[in-house]
């Protein structure tokens, strides 16, 4: 059954990924999922102050997720919100398992994600961009982290919802995982579903996101080998 924008249930919106877009940063990337666009920049590892924030045995992944005022239909007030604070936190947890933080004790790896266009799936676009930015920065990692959200509309599972679909979905389930080992690093859900559905949805998400993983690697290859 075709969706409002003509996509199939398991089709992700057009994906564009570019690495090395912020000249000042150690590493960076831009990810578009349809009309949702995120830019991620990585600085570090670098000295972390004040001293009491330093961890003796590893780096701290300081993560900031932020929505630019003109990214949404109705302008959103600049500055952090409770929502952006929570997304910063879960984003950090989504990426930490992939990074060899132990190699940089007492330091910080600073990650900033700016959403410049928001049309649902912003946290997933942010995580996809962040993973490429971290790799682009030369941060040692076990794997990439790939992310997509799934939902259920008109009784059917769909992947990568648009803003309009998000308004009518029975559930919103963003997932992030390390593609090589299939280990899940972010899992959230809004909705009301039987457990069988939830298990199937997670697998559906991971399968559909393979395309994103390919594009993440392609973006890095393009930047560094031409």
């Amino acid at each position: 059954m075709k969706r409002q924008d003509g996509r199939n249930a398991n089709e992700i919106r057009p994906i564009v990924i570019k690495a090395g877009v912020i000249e000042q940063a150690q590493g960076s990337a831009m990810v578009s999922l349809g009309n949702t666009r995120a830019i991620a920049a990585v600085y570090g590892p670098r000295a972390l102050f004040p001293k009491h924030l330093q961890r003796p045995d590893k780096a701290y992944l300081n993560t900031v997720y932020n929505m630019v005022p003109f990214s949404t239909k109705e302008r959103n007030r600049p500055g952090p919100s409770r929502r952006s604070n929570e997304i910063s936190k879960v984003t950090r947890h989504a990426l930490e398992p992939a990074i060899f933080l132990e190699e940089f004790p007492k330091s910080e790896i600073f990650l900033c994600i700016d959403i410049i266009e928001a049309n649902a799936g912003t946290r997933t676009a942010g995580i996809n961009a962040a993973a490429v930015a971290l790799a682009d920065a030369g941060i040692p990692m076990r794997d990439f982290v790939t992310s997509i959200a799934v939902g259920k509309v008109n009784g059917e599972y769909i992947v990568d919802m648009t803003g309009k679909e998000e308004e009518v979905t029975h559930c919103d389930l963003p997932v992030a995982f390390m593609p090589r080992t299939k280990k899940i690093t972010l899992l959230q859900m809004d909705g009301d579903l039987p457990q069988k559905d939830v298990k199937e949805l997670i697998q559906f998400a991971m399968k559909s996101a393979e395309e994103i993983y390919k594009k993440q690697k392609e973006a890095l290859r393009k930047r560094w080998t031409s």
């Binding site: 000042q24 600085y43 302008r75 600049p78 900033c112």
Partner: protein, 256 residues
């Protein structure tokens, strides 16, 4: 870095700059119109490696009591930590506040936006125009990039429709261009030793003692001035700076 500063100063004594530009030469300027679909109008400006995004959003609200028939203009700037290792998270600091206010002054004082045309119901409802500057990469001369971005975004903005019965803004329909009747363009000059440099990059900004931003209109009139930094300028220096800004402003305006 004192060594680098001395090096730049010595080069300047021979009239040279680090990247071989002339004293009054801008780096390569790139302008992209309306890259942001959610915004009513937007612009992406690159001056050398400096990159700035400006978005225009509109909403309906109450006018200011002393201007009951005029639309409202609000300008804001974010120095995102994305853009520079020297930007920190947190509330806006004096740098971003000053930039926003300087860009705002240029738009406001030049009468760029015909605010009378933004009145919906006198004393009760007017259009509010939000100009948001988002720095993406800080490689020097943020004010000129932001000012240029603001006017490009405004020139390319389309107004949403206001449903008077429902008292709601309809963002799905954006048809009327924003009433823009002037093109203010800021030109910043930084004082390094006794030379005034145009379009300073990061290393030059480190050595600069102060700067002056002059925004000019299409007719050559000046609509806004901002002297920044703790150095002192002679009247002669300021006069020269004004001449340069008018000339450079003309050049930049051609790019719009």
């Amino acid at each position: 870095m004192m060594i680098q500063n001395s090096y730049i100063l010595n080069l300047l004594k021979e009239g040279k700059r680090l990247d071989n530009r002339k004293i009054d030469e801008y780096r390569k300027i790139k302008i992209e119109k309306n890259p942001i679909t959610q915004a009513e109008g937007s612009a992406r400006i690159k001056i050398g490696n400096t990159e700035v995004l400006v978005g225009v959003k509109m909403d309906v609200g109450e006018p200011f009591p002393d201007k009951p028939e005029d639309g409202v203009l609000i300008t804001n700037a974010e120095f995102s930590p994305l853009a520079s290792p020297n930007f920190e998270t947190g509330p806006p600091r004096e740098g971003s506040i000053e930039l926003a206010r300087v860009v705002d002054r240029g738009i406001r004082e030049s009468g760029a936006i015909d605010t009378k045309k933004l009145c919906i119901k006198k004393k009760e409802k007017v259009w509010m125009v939000f100009v948001d500057v988002q720095i993406l990469n800080h490689a020097g001369n943020l004010i000129d990039a932001a000012g240029l971005g603001a006017i490009v975004a405004l020139l390319n903005a389309k107004m949403p429709e206001y449903d008077e019965k429902e008292e709601k803004v309809n963002y799905e329909k954006k048809t009327q261009p924003l009433p823009v009747k002037s093109n203010p363009v800021p030109v910043t000059q930084s004082k390094v030793d006794s030379t005034f440099l145009i379009d300073t990059n990061l290393e030059e900004e480190d050595v600069a003692e102060g700067r002056i931003t002059i925004t000019t209109k299409d007719d050559g009139n000046i609509c806004s001035i901002q002297k920044s930094g703790s150095s002192a300028f002679t009247l002669d220096e300021i006069t020269k700076a004004i001449d340069n800004s008018i000339n450079k402003g003309k050049e930049l305006r051609k790019l719009l």
